[in-house]
């Protein structure tokens, strides 16, 4: 263990001392990227910087091993945490030699609010109001991942209409999330007019969300057992208007962005990853698909009713920012396709399971039925009990695989609630993507990872 890290260490046993320190005082250790002469050899040799290091021998050329480079040749530059291109409070430490980026280390935690701990304190039916705030750009996905895990544990069969409503909202949410990404990606790379258009189109979707759920964000709409309310009258017209507008505007954006040589030059060949690296890093979503690995949870591990709709999984080849741009552009079109099918096939029926232990009784029943009142009271004071066990059900969020690992001890509160956030894992790709490029490329890389810091820090 320690001897490997200590091999070739300048100054006797620096790594050993560090490891001892870690074991003795568990709260010790600098999070920041350290200067080269203070980093352990293992840290430098197993590639660049902080969150990401590749296994030894992989993707490594002789130049990378030059950890003896004197400190005055390199400089560590701080980017963020308050920087418009970091999409929140992401702090990135970049080591540069001249114009060239050597190591990159994201320093995160600025938005950590202990939501997993909070989740252990809340009852199951309160949980979705907590998880919806994690990835705040795709709240429906958080809710659906949470509810699917809870329903896995309770063994609840959700009515078909609720399943399709969930799918409708998720796909609309994917469109709104990707549109926001298009907007901010444009802003990051100098296509500032896209910022306005992306937000404009997203507004359409948020207005629809508000009509359905009552809120523009953090909806708490998908709940264990179904959804909170049925779709409002006239929802089909709204959905059709959204689909029509978005697909028409996507063609305009193709003219505006895809055909624009300056934007292409900023992305083409920048931040390239290969499939081995991407898989080894546990990347998912557009990042993984851009490297040619065809993996989409919706297709490979179907949940809700995704096996009943027809859509394509968009896969790239080059693994660079340009591919990821194209993948997201086309995923918006695929989502429009799914939304149209869902609107077409929306079954009739109940929007939540009529299980008195799981969902509250209809409001008008409470006025006339003592039992309904009791059920309502019991549900909101004691919650519902969930059989002991653990479950993890992944869903495909706009950023990749999102899953909720829930451990139940048989009470009405989760014993452990862990969210596998795609942004948290995908952020590890920043170091290999940015390595060897220039500072402006780092911005392009951060943008094409599309991290949501609420999801990273939770």
């Amino acid at each position: 263990m320690t001897d490997r890290a200590g091999t070739g260490q300048r100054g006797a046993g620096g790594a050993v001392a560090l490891n001892d320190l870690l074991k003795a005082k568990t709260s010790e250790g600098a999070q920041e990227m350290l200067a080269r002469n203070e980093s352990t050899v293992r840290e430098l040799r197993s590639e660049a910087g902080g969150v990401l290091r590749l296994p030894e021998g992989v993707d490594l050329d002789a130049e990378d091993l030059n950890y003896e480079a004197p400190d005055d040749e390199t400089m560590i530059l701080n980017l963020g945490p308050s920087h418009p291109s970091t999409h929140g409070v992401l702090r990135v430490m970049v080591e540069i030699r001249g114009e060239q980026v050597l190591r990159t280390k994201p320093v995160i935690g600025y938005l950590h609010t202990g939501m997993e701990k909070t989740g252990e304190e809340l009852m199951y039916q309160q949980g979705s109001t907590n998880v919806t705030r994690m990835d705040y750009l795709s709240p429906f996905f958080n809710e659906v991942a949470y509810c699917l895990s809870v329903e896995k544990l309770t063994g609840t069969e959700v009515p078909e209409r609720a399943v399709w409503i969930r799918m409708l909202m998720c796909e609309l949410n994917r469109i709104s999330s990707h549109l926001l990404w298009l907007a901010t990606n444009g802003a990051d790379l100098g296509a500032l007019n896209m910022l306005v258009y992306g937000w404009r189109e997203r507004e359409l979707l948020l207005t629809f969300f508000e009509k359905v759920t009552g809120l523009r964000m953090n909806h708490n709409y998908i709940r264990p057992g179904g959804v909170a309310a049925d779709l409002p009258d006239g929802w089909r017209d709204d959905v059709e208007a959204i689909c029509e507008t978005v697909s028409r505007r996507m063609d305009e954006y193709d003219n505006l962005l895809t055909g624009q040589p300056i934007l292409q030059a900023r992305m083409d060949g920048v931040g390239a990853l290969d499939a081995t690296t991407a898989v080894g890093l546990g990347l998912t979503g557009p990042l993984l698909r851009s490297t040619g690995v065809s993996y989409d949870v919706r297709r490979d591990f179907p949940y809700l009713a995704y096996d009943e709709v027809d859509f394509d999984v968009i896969v790239g080849t080059g693994g660079d920012c340009w591919d990821r741009f194209a993948i997201r552009m086309n995923e918006i079109r695929e989502s429009v396709k799914i939304v149209r099918q869902v609107a077409q096939a929306m079954p009739r029926g109940d929007y939540r399971v009529q299980d008195k232990k799981l969902t509250p009784p209809p409001r008008n029943r409470i006025d006339e039925s003592m039992e309904a009142l009791i059920h309502h009271f019991k549900l909101y004071t004691e919650g519902f009990r969930v059989a002991p066990g653990d479950a993890y059900v992944p869903v495909e969020s706009p950023r990749g695989e999102l899953g909720c690992y829930i451990v139940s001890d048989g009470t009405s509160r989760p014993y452990r609630l862990h969210v596998r956030g795609p942004s948290f894992t995908n952020l590890q790709a920043l170091a290999p993507m940015a390595r060897g490029g220039f500072i402006p490329d780092v911005i392009a890389c951060i943008s094409s990872i599309d991290p949501v810091l609420g999801d990273v820090d939770r």
């Binding site: 568990t26 999070q31 290091r53 590749l54 950590h112 997993e116 993996y295 066990g389 451990v407 596998r420």
Partner: protein, 177 residues
Amino acid sequence: MSEGQGNEPVVTADGAPADEGGELLHGCPVTAPLGQRTVHTDPARYLALMEALYRDGFEACMGLTGVDYLTHPGRDLPEGARGERFEVVVELMSYSRRERLRVRCQVPAEAPHLPSLFDLWPGSEAHERETFDMFGIVFDDHPDLTRILMPEDWEGHPLRKDYATGHVPVQFKEVPK
């Protein structure tokens, strides 16, 4: 990266015959609660099991986290797995076979140490840091085991069950007017 291994190895690392549908995988008991396959292991066998699973074609580590079973010791465990205070839960994924596997490793409270999976799956790096930060489980040979979400001078590990959340008292009477 091992691609598309269609056939399972018939012999486990320790030479015992593997029973894919039954109880043992590389000598470790397997359960499938709610249809999700889970392997149970302990720190001594952890790394060997993980290396064997990596060779079996589980190319990706989708996630790694911890659970503190301090106040819920009587959980369901198969024959051959002894419940300890901590558990490290790893979600593995095989793209070539479209297969998922969960590994639950029992970690005793008196020696919360596990070998790092970094050399097998570099993507486990941030997850191990998070688990260290939240539970105080030390991953030996991890290249940069520091706190990741909490500030570096934070004391204690927030997701442990003996770490109180605390509360801010709400004053109803003596609110200054």
